[in-house]
Protein backbone atom coordinates (compact mmCIF):
# COMPACT_ATOMS: atom_id res chain seq x y z
CA UNK A 1 0.00 0.00 0.00
CA UNK A 2 1.17 3.56 -0.64
CA UNK A 3 3.00 5.33 2.17
CA UNK A 4 0.69 6.93 4.79
CA UNK A 5 -2.23 6.31 2.46
CA UNK A 6 -5.39 4.38 3.22
CA UNK A 7 -8.41 3.24 1.28
CA UNK A 8 -11.47 3.39 3.50
CA UNK A 9 -14.96 2.10 2.70
CA UNK A 10 -17.89 3.36 4.74
CA UNK A 11 -21.43 2.01 4.70
CA UNK A 12 -23.86 4.79 3.81
CA UNK A 13 -26.51 3.91 1.21
CA UNK A 14 -28.02 7.42 1.15
CA UNK A 15 -24.73 9.15 0.45
CA UNK A 16 -23.65 6.45 -1.95
CA UNK A 17 -26.76 6.83 -4.07
CA UNK A 18 -26.84 10.64 -4.00
CA UNK A 19 -23.13 11.40 -4.43
CA UNK A 20 -21.76 12.99 -7.57
CA UNK A 21 -18.14 13.30 -8.69
CA UNK A 22 -16.31 16.10 -6.87
CA UNK A 23 -18.61 16.10 -3.87
CA UNK A 24 -17.34 15.43 -0.36
CA UNK A 25 -18.49 14.25 3.05
CA UNK A 26 -17.84 15.70 6.49
CA UNK A 27 -16.65 13.02 8.87
CA UNK A 28 -17.38 13.74 12.50
CA UNK A 29 -15.99 11.92 15.50
CA UNK A 30 -18.78 12.51 17.99
CA UNK A 31 -19.71 14.99 20.70
CA UNK A 32 -17.83 13.16 23.45
CA UNK A 33 -14.49 13.65 21.79
CA UNK A 34 -12.23 16.48 22.96
CA UNK A 35 -8.90 15.37 21.57
CA UNK A 36 -8.19 16.24 17.96
CA UNK A 37 -9.95 15.63 15.63
CA UNK A 38 -12.53 17.69 17.50
CA UNK A 39 -14.06 19.25 14.41
CA UNK A 40 -15.27 17.07 11.56
CA UNK A 41 -13.02 16.76 8.51
CA UNK A 42 -13.97 16.96 4.85
CA UNK A 43 -13.05 14.06 2.54
CA UNK A 44 -13.87 13.61 -1.15
CA UNK A 45 -16.03 10.75 -2.23
CA UNK A 46 -13.52 8.54 -4.07
CA UNK A 47 -15.86 5.77 -5.13
CA UNK A 48 -19.33 4.38 -4.49
CA UNK A 49 -20.85 0.95 -4.80
CA UNK A 50 -23.41 -1.32 -3.13
CA UNK A 51 -24.32 1.10 -0.36
CA UNK A 52 -20.77 2.11 0.45
CA UNK A 53 -18.50 5.03 -0.33
CA UNK A 54 -14.74 4.80 -0.70
CA UNK A 55 -12.35 7.39 0.71
CA UNK A 56 -8.70 7.85 -0.09
CA UNK A 57 -7.09 9.08 3.10
CA UNK A 58 -3.56 10.32 3.52
CA UNK A 59 -2.34 10.58 7.09
CA UNK A 60 -1.45 14.16 7.76
CA UNK A 61 -2.64 14.98 11.25
CA UNK A 62 -5.21 14.00 13.83
CA UNK A 63 -8.26 13.66 11.60
CA UNK A 64 -6.74 11.56 8.89
CA UNK A 65 -4.91 9.48 11.50
CA UNK A 66 -8.18 8.79 13.31
CA UNK A 67 -9.69 7.56 10.05
CA UNK A 68 -6.67 5.44 9.21
CA UNK A 69 -7.01 3.85 12.66
CA UNK A 70 -10.74 3.07 12.32
CA UNK A 71 -11.50 -0.54 13.11
CA UNK A 72 -13.82 -2.76 11.08
CA UNK A 73 -17.37 -1.94 12.13
CA UNK A 74 -16.57 1.32 13.95
CA UNK A 75 -18.94 4.21 13.40
CA UNK A 76 -18.31 7.83 12.44
CA UNK A 77 -20.72 10.69 11.76
CA UNK A 78 -21.17 11.19 8.04
CA UNK A 79 -22.64 14.35 6.52
CA UNK A 80 -23.10 14.46 2.78
CA UNK A 81 -22.86 14.38 -0.10
CA UNK A 82 -21.80 18.03 0.09
CA UNK A 83 -20.65 20.72 -2.29
CA UNK A 84 -20.90 21.30 -6.02
CA UNK A 85 -19.59 18.54 -8.28
CA UNK A 86 -17.38 18.81 -11.36
CA UNK A 87 -19.45 19.97 -14.32
CA UNK A 88 -18.88 17.97 -17.51
CA UNK A 89 -19.89 18.96 -21.04
CA UNK A 90 -21.36 16.09 -23.02
CA UNK A 91 -19.06 15.12 -25.87
CA UNK A 92 -16.12 17.08 -24.52
CA UNK A 93 -13.04 15.06 -23.49
CA UNK A 94 -11.98 15.28 -19.85
CA UNK A 95 -8.46 15.61 -18.55
CA UNK A 96 -8.05 14.99 -14.79
CA UNK A 97 -4.89 16.20 -13.06
CA UNK A 98 -4.49 14.73 -9.58
CA UNK A 99 -1.84 15.78 -7.09
CA UNK A 100 -1.44 13.43 -4.15
CA UNK A 101 -4.71 12.43 -2.55
CA UNK A 102 -6.31 14.96 -4.87
CA UNK A 103 -6.66 11.70 -6.78
CA UNK A 104 -9.75 10.76 -4.76
CA UNK A 105 -12.52 12.59 -6.65
CA UNK A 106 -11.07 11.45 -9.98
CA UNK A 107 -11.24 7.79 -9.06
CA UNK A 108 -14.97 8.37 -8.73
CA UNK A 109 -15.26 10.55 -11.82
CA UNK A 110 -13.04 8.60 -14.18
CA UNK A 111 -14.86 5.43 -13.23
CA UNK A 112 -18.42 6.63 -13.61
CA UNK A 113 -18.04 9.29 -16.32
CA UNK A 114 -15.99 6.79 -18.27
CA UNK A 115 -18.83 4.28 -18.08
CA UNK A 116 -21.22 7.06 -19.12
CA UNK A 117 -19.21 7.40 -22.32
CA UNK A 118 -17.03 10.39 -21.51
CA UNK A 119 -13.46 10.24 -22.78
CA UNK A 120 -11.51 10.60 -19.56
CA UNK A 121 -7.76 10.81 -19.17
CA UNK A 122 -6.33 10.59 -15.64
CA UNK A 123 -2.90 11.97 -14.80
CA UNK A 124 -1.62 11.44 -11.29
CA UNK A 125 1.40 12.91 -9.59
CA UNK A 126 3.15 12.29 -6.28
CA UNK A 127 6.31 13.68 -4.77
CA UNK A 128 7.87 10.25 -4.31
CA UNK A 129 7.20 6.83 -5.80
CA UNK A 130 6.51 5.25 -2.40
CA UNK A 131 3.46 7.49 -2.05
CA UNK A 132 1.84 6.39 -5.30
CA UNK A 133 -1.53 4.75 -4.75
CA UNK A 134 -1.68 1.23 -6.22
CA UNK A 135 -1.99 1.72 -10.02
CA UNK A 136 -3.74 -1.65 -10.35
CA UNK A 137 -6.45 -0.55 -7.94
CA UNK A 138 -6.73 2.76 -9.77
CA UNK A 139 -7.21 0.88 -13.02
CA UNK A 140 -9.81 -1.35 -11.43
CA UNK A 141 -11.74 1.68 -10.18
CA UNK A 142 -11.38 3.83 -13.29
CA UNK A 143 -11.22 1.27 -16.06
CA UNK A 144 -7.86 2.37 -17.43
CA UNK A 145 -4.31 2.82 -16.11
CA UNK A 146 -3.36 6.36 -15.00
CA UNK A 147 -0.40 8.29 -16.36
CA UNK A 148 1.89 8.78 -13.40
CA UNK A 149 4.40 11.50 -12.53
CA UNK A 150 6.78 11.42 -9.57
CA UNK A 151 9.17 14.18 -8.62
CA UNK A 152 11.80 11.62 -7.63
CA UNK A 153 11.27 9.81 -10.92
CA UNK A 154 10.84 6.55 -9.07
CA UNK A 155 7.66 5.70 -10.95
CA UNK A 156 6.20 6.94 -14.25
CA UNK A 157 7.59 10.17 -15.64
CA UNK A 158 9.96 12.33 -13.59
CA UNK A 159 8.41 15.65 -12.78
CA UNK A 160 5.08 17.20 -11.91
CA UNK A 161 1.66 16.13 -13.09
CA UNK A 162 1.20 19.70 -14.33
CA UNK A 163 4.20 19.37 -16.67
CA UNK A 164 2.46 17.48 -19.47
CA UNK A 165 0.67 18.83 -22.54
CA UNK A 166 -2.81 20.17 -21.83
CA UNK A 167 -5.35 19.77 -24.63
CA UNK A 168 -7.23 23.04 -25.14
CA UNK A 169 -10.18 21.07 -26.47
CA UNK A 170 -10.63 19.23 -23.18
CA UNK A 171 -12.26 20.17 -19.92
CA UNK A 172 -9.32 20.16 -17.52
CA UNK A 173 -10.05 19.21 -13.91
CA UNK A 174 -7.51 19.72 -11.14
CA UNK A 175 -7.40 18.55 -7.56
CA UNK A 176 -4.43 18.65 -5.23
CA UNK A 177 -2.34 20.92 -3.04
CA UNK A 178 -3.01 24.63 -3.45
CA UNK A 179 0.42 25.37 -4.99
CA UNK A 180 -0.33 22.80 -7.70
CA UNK A 181 -3.70 24.40 -8.36
CA UNK A 182 -2.06 27.82 -8.53
CA UNK A 183 0.44 26.59 -11.10
CA UNK A 184 -2.35 24.95 -13.05
CA UNK A 185 -4.53 28.06 -12.95
CA UNK A 186 -1.63 30.17 -14.17
CA UNK A 187 -1.14 27.81 -17.11
CA UNK A 188 -4.85 27.69 -17.83
CA UNK A 189 -4.91 31.48 -17.98
CA UNK A 190 -1.95 31.60 -20.39
CA UNK A 191 -3.17 28.75 -22.58
CA UNK A 192 -6.84 29.72 -22.32
CA UNK A 193 -7.87 26.32 -21.02
CA UNK A 194 -11.26 25.47 -19.57
CA UNK A 195 -10.21 24.51 -16.03
CA UNK A 196 -12.17 23.45 -12.96
CA UNK A 197 -10.37 22.99 -9.66
CA UNK A 198 -11.38 21.39 -6.37
CA UNK A 199 -9.95 23.52 -3.53
CA UNK A 200 -9.17 22.79 0.09
CA UNK A 201 -9.84 25.03 3.05
CA UNK A 202 -10.41 24.48 6.75
CA UNK A 203 -14.03 23.63 7.39
CA UNK A 204 -16.16 23.50 10.52
CA UNK A 205 -19.70 22.85 9.32
CA UNK A 206 -19.43 21.77 5.69
CA UNK A 207 -22.92 23.08 4.93
CA UNK A 208 -22.59 26.85 4.71
CA UNK A 209 -23.45 27.92 8.22
CA UNK A 210 -20.07 28.84 9.72
CA UNK A 211 -18.55 30.73 6.77
CA UNK A 212 -15.22 29.31 7.78
CA UNK A 213 -14.09 27.82 4.50
CA UNK A 214 -13.69 30.76 2.18
CA UNK A 215 -11.51 31.29 -0.86
CA UNK A 216 -11.32 34.63 -2.64
CA UNK A 217 -13.37 35.14 -5.76
CA UNK A 218 -12.22 37.21 -8.73
CA UNK A 219 -14.76 39.87 -7.69
CA UNK A 220 -12.93 40.21 -4.37
CA UNK A 221 -15.80 38.51 -2.53
CA UNK A 222 -15.20 35.40 -0.46
CA UNK A 223 -16.69 32.16 -1.71
CA UNK A 224 -17.57 29.23 0.54
CA UNK A 225 -15.60 26.14 -0.46
CA UNK A 226 -18.26 23.90 1.07
CA UNK A 227 -21.35 25.14 -0.74
CA UNK A 228 -20.14 27.26 -3.68
CA UNK A 229 -17.26 24.82 -4.13
CA UNK A 230 -15.23 22.77 -3.57
CA UNK A 231 -15.23 22.73 -7.37
CA UNK A 232 -14.76 26.12 -8.97
CA UNK A 233 -14.14 27.32 -12.46
CA UNK A 234 -10.54 28.51 -12.15
CA UNK A 235 -11.60 31.86 -13.59
CA UNK A 236 -13.93 32.46 -10.63
CA UNK A 237 -11.05 32.58 -8.17
CA UNK A 238 -8.49 35.28 -7.41
CA UNK A 239 -5.22 33.35 -7.58
CA UNK A 240 -2.18 34.76 -5.86
CA UNK A 241 0.89 34.87 -8.13
CA UNK A 242 2.90 31.63 -8.05
Amino acid sequence: MAKDTWWLELHSPDIASAARWGQFVMIGFGLRRLEPPFLPRPFSVGWRGDGRIGLLVRVFGAGSRALAKLDEGERVLLLGPLGRPFRLEPGRPILCLAGGVGLAPFLFLAGEAGREGFAVELRYGERTADRVFDPALIERLTGSPPRIWTEDGGLGQRGRVTDGELDAGATVLGCGPTPMLQALAARAAREELDLQVSVEEHMACGVGTCQGCVVRGIDGRWKKACTEGPVFDARELAWSPV
Partner: protein, 311 residues
Protein backbone atom coordinates in the same frame (compact mmCIF):
# COMPACT_ATOMS: atom_id res chain seq x y z
CA UNK B 1 -41.32 16.28 23.32
CA UNK B 2 -41.99 16.85 27.02
CA UNK B 3 -44.51 19.67 27.25
CA UNK B 4 -42.58 20.59 30.39
CA UNK B 5 -39.77 21.91 28.19
CA UNK B 6 -41.85 25.04 27.60
CA UNK B 7 -40.35 28.25 28.87
CA UNK B 8 -41.96 31.70 28.89
CA UNK B 9 -39.33 34.37 28.40
CA UNK B 10 -39.31 37.83 26.83
CA UNK B 11 -43.11 37.74 26.83
CA UNK B 12 -43.04 34.80 24.44
CA UNK B 13 -43.46 31.07 24.89
CA UNK B 14 -40.49 28.92 23.87
CA UNK B 15 -41.40 25.26 23.25
CA UNK B 16 -37.92 24.40 24.50
CA UNK B 17 -35.12 26.29 26.26
CA UNK B 18 -32.62 25.24 23.58
CA UNK B 19 -31.69 27.59 20.73
CA UNK B 20 -28.99 27.55 18.08
CA UNK B 21 -26.28 30.16 18.63
CA UNK B 22 -25.51 33.01 16.28
CA UNK B 23 -22.96 32.27 13.59
CA UNK B 24 -23.28 28.55 13.98
CA UNK B 25 -26.59 28.03 12.17
CA UNK B 26 -26.32 30.52 9.32
CA UNK B 27 -29.78 31.89 8.62
CA UNK B 28 -31.53 28.63 9.50
CA UNK B 29 -32.09 27.33 5.99
CA UNK B 30 -28.68 25.66 5.84
CA UNK B 31 -29.64 23.24 8.63
CA UNK B 32 -33.26 22.79 7.64
CA UNK B 33 -32.71 19.49 5.83
CA UNK B 34 -30.46 18.15 8.57
CA UNK B 35 -32.44 18.72 11.75
CA UNK B 36 -36.05 19.46 12.77
CA UNK B 37 -35.36 23.18 13.24
CA UNK B 38 -38.96 24.00 14.06
CA UNK B 39 -38.91 21.69 17.08
CA UNK B 40 -36.16 23.67 18.80
CA UNK B 41 -36.72 26.66 21.04
CA UNK B 42 -35.40 28.78 18.25
CA UNK B 43 -32.29 30.10 16.58
CA UNK B 44 -30.20 33.24 16.48
CA UNK B 45 -29.18 34.37 13.00
CA UNK B 46 -25.66 35.19 11.88
CA UNK B 47 -24.86 38.81 12.76
CA UNK B 48 -26.59 41.36 10.55
CA UNK B 49 -24.98 44.75 9.89
CA UNK B 50 -26.49 47.70 8.05
CA UNK B 51 -24.10 47.21 5.11
CA UNK B 52 -22.82 43.85 3.86
CA UNK B 53 -19.44 42.80 5.29
CA UNK B 54 -16.84 40.78 3.43
CA UNK B 55 -15.13 39.29 6.44
CA UNK B 56 -11.60 38.00 7.07
CA UNK B 57 -9.11 36.07 4.94
CA UNK B 58 -8.64 32.32 5.49
CA UNK B 59 -7.93 30.33 7.51
CA UNK B 60 -11.03 31.37 9.41
CA UNK B 61 -11.46 28.29 11.58
CA UNK B 62 -9.25 25.70 13.22
CA UNK B 63 -9.45 23.56 16.26
CA UNK B 64 -7.87 24.25 19.64
CA UNK B 65 -7.62 22.01 22.73
CA UNK B 66 -11.24 21.10 23.52
CA UNK B 67 -12.65 23.73 21.23
CA UNK B 68 -12.12 25.85 18.16
CA UNK B 69 -10.98 29.26 17.05
CA UNK B 70 -12.86 31.35 14.51
CA UNK B 71 -12.29 34.69 12.86
CA UNK B 72 -15.08 35.01 10.34
CA UNK B 73 -15.01 38.78 10.58
CA UNK B 74 -18.77 39.09 10.87
CA UNK B 75 -19.17 38.48 7.16
CA UNK B 76 -22.85 38.90 6.39
CA UNK B 77 -25.19 39.84 3.60
CA UNK B 78 -26.25 43.12 5.20
CA UNK B 79 -29.65 44.40 6.26
CA UNK B 80 -31.32 44.68 2.84
CA UNK B 81 -30.33 41.24 1.58
CA UNK B 82 -31.24 39.76 4.95
CA UNK B 83 -34.75 41.19 4.67
CA UNK B 84 -35.24 40.16 1.06
CA UNK B 85 -33.30 36.87 0.87
CA UNK B 86 -33.02 35.36 4.36
CA UNK B 87 -35.89 36.51 6.54
CA UNK B 88 -38.67 35.27 4.23
CA UNK B 89 -37.45 31.68 4.53
CA UNK B 90 -37.42 31.92 8.32
CA UNK B 91 -40.89 33.48 8.35
CA UNK B 92 -42.35 30.83 6.04
CA UNK B 93 -40.65 27.78 7.51
CA UNK B 94 -40.51 28.30 11.26
CA UNK B 95 -43.89 28.29 12.94
CA UNK B 96 -42.95 27.26 16.47
CA UNK B 97 -39.26 28.00 16.81
CA UNK B 98 -38.47 31.63 17.58
CA UNK B 99 -36.01 33.73 15.62
CA UNK B 100 -33.67 36.24 17.20
CA UNK B 101 -31.63 38.43 14.88
CA UNK B 102 -28.04 39.00 15.97
CA UNK B 103 -27.22 42.67 15.34
CA UNK B 104 -23.84 44.36 14.94
CA UNK B 105 -22.67 47.82 14.07
CA UNK B 106 -19.66 50.09 14.22
CA UNK B 107 -21.67 52.88 15.81
CA UNK B 108 -24.89 53.18 17.78
CA UNK B 109 -26.47 54.60 14.63
CA UNK B 110 -25.60 51.47 12.68
CA UNK B 111 -27.10 49.23 15.36
CA UNK B 112 -30.21 51.41 15.44
CA UNK B 113 -30.50 51.34 11.65
CA UNK B 114 -30.54 47.53 11.61
CA UNK B 115 -33.17 47.35 14.34
CA UNK B 116 -35.27 50.06 12.69
CA UNK B 117 -34.93 48.33 9.34
CA UNK B 118 -36.24 45.06 10.77
CA UNK B 119 -38.85 46.33 13.17
CA UNK B 120 -41.67 46.41 10.62
CA UNK B 121 -40.83 42.91 9.43
CA UNK B 122 -42.59 39.74 10.51
CA UNK B 123 -40.75 36.53 11.30
CA UNK B 124 -38.54 37.53 14.18
CA UNK B 125 -39.19 37.67 17.91
CA UNK B 126 -36.46 40.11 18.86
CA UNK B 127 -32.85 41.19 18.67
CA UNK B 128 -29.65 39.84 20.15
CA UNK B 129 -27.29 42.80 20.25
CA UNK B 130 -23.71 41.70 19.75
CA UNK B 131 -21.61 44.30 21.56
CA UNK B 132 -18.36 42.39 21.28
CA UNK B 133 -17.23 43.88 17.98
CA UNK B 134 -14.90 46.85 17.61
CA UNK B 135 -16.36 50.33 17.49
CA UNK B 136 -14.15 51.73 14.77
CA UNK B 137 -14.39 55.34 15.86
CA UNK B 138 -13.31 54.91 19.45
CA UNK B 139 -11.39 51.72 18.91
CA UNK B 140 -13.16 50.48 22.01
CA UNK B 141 -15.99 48.00 22.15
CA UNK B 142 -19.50 48.76 23.32
CA UNK B 143 -19.27 45.62 25.40
CA UNK B 144 -16.38 46.95 27.47
CA UNK B 145 -17.31 50.64 27.63
CA UNK B 146 -19.93 51.23 30.32
CA UNK B 147 -21.08 54.60 29.04
CA UNK B 148 -21.21 53.57 25.37
CA UNK B 149 -23.15 50.43 26.29
CA UNK B 150 -25.72 52.35 28.34
CA UNK B 151 -26.29 54.80 25.49
CA UNK B 152 -26.52 52.04 22.90
CA UNK B 153 -29.09 50.04 24.85
CA UNK B 154 -31.18 53.11 25.64
CA UNK B 155 -31.04 54.10 21.99
CA UNK B 156 -32.19 50.67 20.78
CA UNK B 157 -34.89 50.60 23.42
CA UNK B 158 -36.38 53.64 21.74
CA UNK B 159 -36.27 51.95 18.33
CA UNK B 160 -38.34 48.89 19.15
CA UNK B 161 -40.97 47.30 21.36
CA UNK B 162 -39.49 43.90 20.63
CA UNK B 163 -37.17 42.15 23.07
CA UNK B 164 -33.67 43.63 23.09
CA UNK B 165 -31.21 41.03 24.36
CA UNK B 166 -27.63 42.13 24.87
CA UNK B 167 -24.93 39.58 24.19
CA UNK B 168 -22.09 40.33 26.57
CA UNK B 169 -18.38 39.78 26.13
CA UNK B 170 -16.51 37.73 28.75
CA UNK B 171 -13.43 39.97 28.63
CA UNK B 172 -14.34 42.23 31.52
CA UNK B 173 -13.33 42.21 35.19
CA UNK B 174 -16.95 41.98 36.37
CA UNK B 175 -19.72 41.05 33.96
CA UNK B 176 -22.26 41.98 36.64
CA UNK B 177 -21.53 45.67 36.07
CA UNK B 178 -22.50 45.36 32.42
CA UNK B 179 -25.53 43.23 33.24
CA UNK B 180 -26.83 45.98 35.54
CA UNK B 181 -26.13 48.67 32.95
CA UNK B 182 -28.18 46.74 30.40
CA UNK B 183 -31.04 46.35 32.84
CA UNK B 184 -31.00 50.03 33.84
CA UNK B 185 -30.85 51.07 30.19
CA UNK B 186 -33.97 49.11 29.30
CA UNK B 187 -32.74 45.80 27.89
CA UNK B 188 -35.06 42.78 28.11
CA UNK B 189 -32.41 40.12 28.49
CA UNK B 190 -28.77 39.08 28.34
CA UNK B 191 -26.82 36.49 26.41
CA UNK B 192 -23.68 35.15 28.07
CA UNK B 193 -21.21 34.53 26.59
CA UNK B 194 -19.48 35.34 23.34
CA UNK B 195 -16.08 33.87 22.49
CA UNK B 196 -12.74 34.48 24.24
CA UNK B 197 -9.98 36.08 22.15
CA UNK B 198 -7.37 33.50 21.31
CA UNK B 199 -4.56 32.67 18.93
CA UNK B 200 -3.03 29.58 17.38
CA UNK B 201 0.50 29.48 16.00
CA UNK B 202 1.76 26.98 13.42
CA UNK B 203 5.23 26.28 14.77
CA UNK B 204 6.46 24.98 11.41
CA UNK B 205 5.53 28.03 9.33
CA UNK B 206 5.82 30.27 12.42
CA UNK B 207 2.62 31.93 11.29
CA UNK B 208 -0.71 32.30 13.02
CA UNK B 209 -3.02 29.55 11.74
CA UNK B 210 -5.82 32.10 11.47
CA UNK B 211 -5.70 34.63 8.63
CA UNK B 212 -6.87 37.35 11.00
CA UNK B 213 -4.03 36.35 13.39
CA UNK B 214 -6.38 36.15 16.38
CA UNK B 215 -9.91 34.82 16.72
CA UNK B 216 -12.59 33.79 19.16
CA UNK B 217 -12.38 30.58 21.18
CA UNK B 218 -15.54 28.52 21.57
CA UNK B 219 -16.53 24.98 22.41
CA UNK B 220 -16.32 22.73 25.46
CA UNK B 221 -13.12 24.44 26.63
CA UNK B 222 -15.09 27.54 27.66
CA UNK B 223 -18.00 25.74 29.38
CA UNK B 224 -16.99 26.52 32.98
CA UNK B 225 -16.27 30.15 32.14
CA UNK B 226 -19.68 30.47 30.51
CA UNK B 227 -21.48 28.88 33.44
CA UNK B 228 -19.70 31.22 35.86
CA UNK B 229 -20.40 34.37 33.85
CA UNK B 230 -24.03 33.33 33.38
CA UNK B 231 -24.31 32.87 37.14
CA UNK B 232 -22.73 36.30 37.77
CA UNK B 233 -24.98 37.99 35.21
CA UNK B 234 -28.09 36.29 36.59
CA UNK B 235 -27.19 37.30 40.15
CA UNK B 236 -26.36 40.88 39.21
CA UNK B 237 -29.57 41.69 37.37
CA UNK B 238 -33.16 40.51 37.25
CA UNK B 239 -33.07 40.12 33.47
CA UNK B 240 -33.55 36.68 31.95
CA UNK B 241 -30.22 35.30 30.77
CA UNK B 242 -29.46 33.05 27.80
CA UNK B 243 -26.56 30.75 28.72
CA UNK B 244 -24.02 30.12 25.98
CA UNK B 245 -20.63 28.48 25.81
CA UNK B 246 -19.41 24.94 25.29
CA UNK B 247 -22.75 23.19 25.55
CA UNK B 248 -22.66 19.73 23.93
CA UNK B 249 -24.86 17.70 26.28
CA UNK B 250 -27.97 18.03 28.41
CA UNK B 251 -25.73 17.96 31.48
CA UNK B 252 -23.87 21.02 30.19
CA UNK B 253 -27.13 22.86 29.48
CA UNK B 254 -28.45 21.95 32.92
CA UNK B 255 -25.39 23.54 34.53
CA UNK B 256 -26.35 26.81 32.83
CA UNK B 257 -30.02 26.52 33.81
CA UNK B 258 -29.15 25.79 37.44
CA UNK B 259 -26.72 28.72 37.39
CA UNK B 260 -29.59 31.01 36.39
CA UNK B 261 -30.02 30.81 32.62
CA UNK B 262 -33.63 30.89 31.38
CA UNK B 263 -32.62 29.61 27.94
CA UNK B 264 -29.45 28.17 26.43
CA UNK B 265 -27.79 28.25 23.04
CA UNK B 266 -25.79 25.52 21.35
CA UNK B 267 -23.04 26.69 19.01
CA UNK B 268 -19.84 24.86 18.18
CA UNK B 269 -21.35 21.48 19.09
CA UNK B 270 -23.60 21.73 16.01
CA UNK B 271 -20.49 21.55 13.83
CA UNK B 272 -19.40 18.35 15.50
CA UNK B 273 -22.92 16.94 15.19
CA UNK B 274 -25.78 18.94 13.64
CA UNK B 275 -28.19 17.05 15.90
CA UNK B 276 -26.43 18.31 19.05
CA UNK B 277 -29.13 20.83 19.99
CA UNK B 278 -31.86 18.22 19.51
CA UNK B 279 -29.96 15.77 21.68
CA UNK B 280 -29.45 18.41 24.36
CA UNK B 281 -33.17 19.24 24.29
CA UNK B 282 -34.20 15.61 24.60
CA UNK B 283 -31.71 15.07 27.40
CA UNK B 284 -33.13 17.97 29.39
CA UNK B 285 -36.54 16.35 29.02
CA UNK B 286 -35.29 13.02 30.35
CA UNK B 287 -33.56 14.72 33.29
CA UNK B 288 -36.77 16.56 34.17
CA UNK B 289 -38.74 13.33 34.08
CA UNK B 290 -36.22 11.46 36.22
CA UNK B 291 -36.10 14.37 38.68
CA UNK B 292 -39.87 14.73 38.64
CA UNK B 293 -39.81 18.30 37.41
CA UNK B 294 -42.83 19.74 35.62
CA UNK B 295 -41.41 22.95 34.21
CA UNK B 296 -37.99 24.20 33.18
CA UNK B 297 -38.54 27.24 35.37
CA UNK B 298 -38.18 24.99 38.43
CA UNK B 299 -34.59 24.46 37.34
CA UNK B 300 -33.66 28.05 36.53
CA UNK B 301 -31.32 29.37 39.21
CA UNK B 302 -32.08 26.36 41.43
CA UNK B 303 -28.42 26.19 42.46
CA UNK B 304 -27.84 25.45 46.14
CA UNK B 305 -24.59 26.15 47.93
CA UNK B 306 -22.48 23.19 49.01
CA UNK B 307 -21.76 21.92 52.50
CA UNK B 308 -18.24 20.51 52.59
CA UNK B 309 -18.28 16.96 53.97
CA UNK B 310 -15.58 17.58 56.56
CA UNK B 311 -15.67 21.09 58.02
Amino acid sequence: MVSGLRQSVFGAEFQSPVLLASGTCGYGKEYSELIPLDELGGLVTKAVSVEPRTGNPPHRVAETPGGMINAIGLENVGLQAFVTEKLPWLRDNLEKAHVLVNVIGRTAEEYAAVVAGLDEEEGLLGYEINVSCPNVEGGTMFGTDEKALAELVARLRRETERPVIVKLTPNVPDIGVYARICEESGADGLSTINTFPGMLVDIQSRQPVIGNVSGGISGPAILPMGVFLTWRAACASSLPVIGIGGIRSAADALQYLLAGASLVQVGTASFVDPAAAVTVQEGIGSYMESEGLRTVSELVGALSLPEPALS
